[in-house]
Symmetry: C2
Amino acid sequence: MNQHFDNTPHKRLNILTGEWILVSPHRTKRPWQGKNETTHTLKKIAHDPNCYLCATNTRINGKINPDYKNTFVFPNDFGAILPDNEKFNYNEGLLKAASETGICRVICFSPNHSETLPDMEISAIEKVIEVWQKQYKELGSMPNINHVQIFENKGAIMGCSNPHPHGQIWAQQSIPNEVLKKTEKQLAYFSKNNKSLLVDYITQELELKERIIFENNTFVSLVPFWAVWPYEVMILPKRHIEHVGLLTAKEKTDYAEQIKVVTQKYDKLFDTSFPYSSGIHQSPTDKEYPEWHFHMSFYPPLLRSATVKKFMVGYEMFGMPQRDITAETAAKSLKAL
Amino acid sequence: MNQHFDNTPHKRLNILTGEWILVSPHRTKRPWQGKNETTHTLKKIAHDPNCYLCATNTRINGKINPDYKNTFVFPNDFGAILPDNEKFNYNEGLLKAASETGICRVICFSPNHSETLPDMEISAIEKVIEVWQKQYKELGSMPNINHVQIFENKGAIMGCSNPHPHGQIWAQQSIPNEVLKKTEKQLAYFSKNNKSLLVDYITQELELKERIIFENNTFVSLVPFWAVWPYEVMILPKRHIEHVGLLTAKEKTDYAEQIKVVTQKYDKLFDTSFPYSSGIHQSPTDKEYPEWHFHMSFYPPLLRSATVKKFMVGYEMFGMPQRDITAETAAKSLKAL
Ligand SMILES: O=P(O)(O)O[C@H]1O[C@H](CO)[C@@H](O)[C@H](O)[C@H]1O
Ligand SMILES: O=P(O)(O)O[C@H]1O[C@H](CO)[C@@H](O)[C@H](O)[C@H]1O
């Protein structure tokens, strides 16, 4: 490892977005006098009569959830994007706006109100991956849907209003900013080298072994060199595949194992049900994107303990992301668990 | 106003960064079952013996604060960037990093432990602006400092570890991502039109009067058309000036009045000491930037009340920023106060 990384403030390049992040390894010594989050130890109940995601319960719009046994997908009753809007374009001087259409869905991962991903059997996580595959294909082939964003907000600290294990999908007409950036960088690399940027990246990481968390036959989990969040992790297939729909049966199992291992390590790290937002970045659905290499990222806010998080505030909002512990230190802690 | 803005999901373009944000005006009807922040009503004491920012107190490094009467600037005892590092460049395959150097300072706005910006006299806020001017010039002319970021994190919810009114400066060698984006867009406009992008934007906003919060002779406060945070506000000079150092005496007073009015409105909105991160975007200091039009932005997280904030999580992190209330509705509420 470069001898400076551990003690010298430096910046690192995110090769997927082209943006830099600031690393201040010396700063972990700072005393903490700020906000402590409250942690709730939830009772581990399998069914909560007041939960609108539990099987057989009634949702706010009067619909009754089926008595589902594995996963359950339904339209988000308060979707941020709607399928049928009036279309408009607004282009007045320096003000530019346009209507947006799309579909928002909720995916329950398990009928068990308290069974989060790390608690689930690998075979049950495979069922969640199958839902992602099916949804990506189904939504992606609809008219006016050009991008399918699959994500999970876990924990109250991540704005999640219900502890029942679930994720979301927002599928829409526009291709979001973050995906545009990653398309540009992957396309430039692919056009020049006729190879996936992330395949070459994985090869380098597997040689260096400094940021790898867990590897199986077809997948790898690592703390990316340019990680922003303290314990950010990326799970990615070793093979260049554009989207989750292209996984072989073996890859699906390996991917499920990665999710289980990473989320279990997270829960162990600070001995808490570890909050995060996770998301899958993959090819948009409007055309072929041979340059895209699908990957899943976890952005967890906790920094020092179950109650002290990293705040992405003033400097980070106006300047650039900043982190204290290095990616290598974070990877070492996670790997060891 | 466009008849669709109030009821149709749409996207809006940020002309300063080139990025889009998603607006879901229908979504304010969603019930809130998520996290409530705790609010602390702090005792209004003028001096806290345990505060490391109060006059005459001893800081963690043993240094004693002077008995200052207005503002006080000192080096951040735990700066994220340091002035004297070993320099290095790391460029190994797809991994790119480089040392970063700079200076971090803390600015106390007032010796009074409980006097936040909205409580201060306009003349006292002018003194804070004078510090920003002096610091921008002093730091900006140092070798290896090419950018001076002035910002404030206010409130525990914004990672601020001390309620004593204060801001920060991180001055550094690299020009941060956000500033690079805004430079690019302003330069393109300036090169084409030989005019400041923001002068033309203000002209349009002053005609439309839909997003203006408060106007005086030389300054204006508005909710930008592309606002991300629920009650985001931008304060900007009507005249095209590159940085805070170029203000006339009259402009300095008008700017101070804007800060007072905006922060007072904020405190009134939810009857709480309103948390936010604010920051000044202005020309970097390595060369002339005739295209830059200095402006100050406030990014406050609160959405519905003193305890319910907007979470920028899964979709926002992986896709693009999303908001529920429109910029026009937010401006109307703030203007009315
Ligand atoms: O410098 P402070 O106030 O200790 O720290 C706060 O502001 C910094 C600059 O935005 C952030 O990096 C920290 O995460 C936050 O807690
Ligand atoms: O959709 P939910 O879970 O109600 O809401 C949560 O996730 C959304 C998507 O990231 C965010 O826009 C909301 O701010 C957050 O509270």
